[in-house]
Subunit: 277 residues, 2 copies
């Protein structure tokens, strides 16, 4: 029976994107030694859809004999009332904090639908975000080293050490204009900062990675190549790390870090401000 009790069906339900429910539910479940099967049901905005979702949850209870876990973030009272009747363990991710805040702020909540991940498209911050994504795409992988005066950060490192996903995450999540430049074979002989980057060295940040990990990543792309060899990977990493040290460029080893961790760590080190949408 142990294996059964340690497995649960999980639903994330919202009248918005369900991103808040997902993020919090996922984090909370990570604190428990259980396996889960997760379903996300966003935009539950009508009574009909709410009834349908309630039935879907109830059906799962009938099938499994275990109450599903339902994390929900619902502003519309009539929708919330229906979901609250499901045969499930229900967790209202917003209300648990809205109540103490109401007391502490001595203010009544003024709930608005979709406040969290929706936007005023005329707002500066939304424009800033879209512009950051475009800038970052145009400056991916050394494609362009123009307009570096507009960059918030310039990532340096060998090919396949995590620069591109990090830059895109920085742009998407935080509205950061991120440039990335890969040191390639031709740079290795006498490694130095490209002259276009030199005037903006104060914006540079290095990424590095363990040799074994780099070999594995490169091997997936080009199996058994010189590019993925221990010799080549080790040599490139040595040279690039020497450059970082010689030029006093702050750097981070990405081997055990997720895109989120790399991004938030280097925002922190470089003092960039996080924008929330």
């Amino acid at each position: 029976m142990q294996s059964k009790t340690n497995f649960r069906d999980v639903f994330y339900v919202s009248d918005g994107t369900a991103i808040t429910s997902e993020t919090l539910g996922h984090a909370v479940l990570g604190q428990f030694p259980i396996e889960v099967s997760q379903v996300t049901l966003p935009f539950v905005e009508t009574v009909e859809r709410a009834q349908y979702v309630k039935n879907q949850i109830n059906q799962k209870f009938i099938e499994t004999g275990e109450k599903p876990l339902v994390f929900f973030s619902i502003v519309l009272p009539e929708i919330k009332a229906i979901i609250a009747q499901a045969n499930a363990n229900l967790y209202d991710v917003l209300s648990v904090l809205v109540e103490p805040l109401t007391r502490d702020l001595q203010l009544e909540p003024a709930p608005k639908l979709h406040r969290s991940h929706s936007i005023n498209k005329d707002s500066d911050s939304y424009q800033k975000r879209i512009a950051a994504i475009e800038y970052t795409l145009a400056h991916d992988d050394g494609v362009s080293l123009n307009n570096l005066e507009q960059a918030d950060i310039i990532l340096l490192g060998v090919s396949r050490c995590g620069k591109t996903p990090t830059c895109l995450y920085l742009a998407m999540q935080f509205g950061v204009r991120a440039v990335n430049y890969p040191f390639i074979e031709d740079d290795m002989a006498r490694l130095k900062l490209p002259k276009e980057i030199e005037p903006y060295r104060f914006k540079t940040f290095g990424l590095t990675i363990d040799t074994e990990r780099l070999m594995a990543i490169r091997h997936e792309r080009y199996a058994n190549s010189e590019y993925s060899s221990e010799n080549q990977c080790g040599k490139e990493l040595n040279k690039v790390e020497s450059l970082f040290r010689r030029e006093a460029i702050p750097y981070l080893n990405t081997t055990t870090l997720s895109v989120e961790e790399i991004s938030t760590r280097l925002m922190e080190v470089s003092g960039l401000k996080r924008t929330l949408w």
Copy 2:
């Protein structure tokens, strides 16, 4: 005094990325009619840094005379104990749900640091995510129409209607392989699906946008151009929407939607499964 009580300083504090605290705090604050100034302090992993953060919060209280709002997600008990002493209104975003879950699951939590936004790099889901980002970048803006059999979704629409940010968000957040293809002027004369896309029409999804909004976005890029004119924008949108209807391609108007809303709505309509990291 009204204006003073409706402004608060907010801190998001975590021994991880602080993404969970930010997401939940931001959503909860969106329910109240207040203005905030927000600071995020991730990776508070040492006693020294925790003391520093506590002092920073206390200093804000001294400066403003108002208790800052502190949303925190901290696993390490010795760090949590220090932050809990700050002169602030404190909200433990995880514990409020960990407690009822402990009761409902009849399981003790087994907290691990950084479980939420960290990764096992050898895991399939992490590889899937990075591969999705690469695939999506390689298929941005019609650059390549190869390997469409690997696509999860193919977005169609006129230039500047929101395809690229949506595709990148889908890849980054959900590990979706997203292709996007812009209909350009040359396509307009006799508009049809490109022959490379035809076999994969069941994966297509259209984006459209109001004429005024498209004009404004294009005007920012090329002011007073034919490209941003009412005549041109209106014509392109008419033609493309006719195509969507004629070919029975599901489509969405992005005018009032954020990247998150567009992405989650089209995941929902197209039945794609959300992967959580």
